[in-house]
Amino acid sequence: MNYESSKHETSQLTPLERRLESDADRLTGATDPMRVKRIMEAVGSMDETRNHSVAPSTRPAVIGRIGKFAPLAIAAAFALVAAPIIYIAVTAQRATPQQSPQQQAAAIRSAFMAFENVRLPDLPPQAKQSFTKALEMASPEGMRAQTQSLLQDGRRIAEHFLIPIPPQLLPKDKNAAPEEIEAPPQTGMAAPPTSASSAA
């Protein structure tokens, strides 16, 4: 497809193109000095307006400065007031559905504290270390996965040592409820012979 028709080779121009050229020439007159003068006056007055606009204004200087720094002031106010509010709101909104792991962790922690007070002195050293580590990790800041594994570990350890599982550690799932584990005999700890090594 010949989209291009050479302008410079007049012989190749179609009548339409020649008409376009000639009519453009007819439309283009000579320079009008009066019009040029009017335009230059308008340019000059625009320049003066521009120069005046940067000259000191009649407004008090303080207002002028405030006006100049208004965007900065708005940004600072946003950073100081709005941003913390938004951050807290967003954090609170995000934290709400994650309350249960934290509560869970707190429950585990209190359960382990109870174990420590009652049973820890009787446990072998490796089991004590395990419990201590579990206590550290079972802080409210612990992650959900760690909390879940601690929960399982706590139950496993409690089952192994035949320690009565405190209600906080009982799983909510009815199918996995460990009610069948019986309380240890009142006569003392009936730990299996290999309990110390296996608990660790």
Binding site: M1, N2, Y3, E4, S5, K7, T14, P15, L16, E17, R19, L20, E21, D23, A24, D25, R26, L27, T28, G29, A30, T31, D32, R35, V36, R38, I39, M40, A42, V43, G44, M46, D47
Partner: protein, 200 residues
């Protein structure tokens, strides 16, 4: 304005458009006056077919030069100056047309009366000019591209950046504009020789 030499006697007249634009950007009103003198008839011819009457065209012309003066800092001297100026003019025409659409019916009738009051010689010239018809039937981009090609003798690679199109797209645009023009040309405006628009 300070002591200014008459542009007609100034060596600025021999400078290229781009050199004049560069000096105008540096703040030389004399260079800008030379730009205005050089572009005024060409821009007026470009604007006339697009405006309701001569007054509107003169308004658009003045707005164009004010916009050029205001935006000279955005001009890239590595590129041709004329397409940049004509693009500004074309955009101002579009704005004017949008404003005209919002005009009340009364204002429109006044504008039409103004058109009627233009000299009969001017109206006859206008109505018989193919660019008048082009302004009616072509899109803004097509009209601008056609004008830059046939009135300003520009190549598609220079027209492209001015109207935001690639040179290939400009060629297609020009071809379609010529086709549209040829197919819609009224009988009174038909050339003496039958239209032999190059087949694409």
């Amino acid at each position: 304005m300070p002591n200014r030499q008459s542009p007609s006697t100034h060596p600025l007249l021999e400078r290229s458009d781009e050199e004049l634009a560069r000096e105008s950007r540096a703040g030389s009103l004399l260079a800008f006056e030379t730009v205005v003198s050089r572009f005024e008839p060409r821009l007026m011819a470009f604007l006339l077919p697009r405006c309701v009457n001569r007054d509107d065209a003169e308004d658009a012309l003045q707005q164009t030069f004010l916009a050029v003066w205001r935006c000279l800092h955005q001009y890239d001297p590595e590129r041709p100056f004329a397409p940049w100026v004509f693009t500004i003019a074309a955009r101002i025409v579009i704005k004017t047309q949008q404003r005209d659409r919002r005009r009340t019916a009364r204002e429109r009738s006044v504008a039409n009366d103004d058109h009627e009051n233009d000299s009969s010689e001017f109206n006859a010239e206008r109505d018989n000019n193919i660019w008048m018809h082009a302004a009616r039937v072509l899109t803004n981009d097509a009209y601008t591209a056609l004008w830059l090609r046939y009135a300003e003798n520009m190549e598609p690679q220079h027209i492209g950046p001015a109207i935001g199109k690639r040179p290939g797209a400009v060629r297609v645009l020009l071809h379609r504009a010529r086709q549209r023009l040829a197919s819609t040309l009224p009988a009174s405006m038909t050339m003496t020789s039958p239209l032999q628009e190059t087949s694409p």
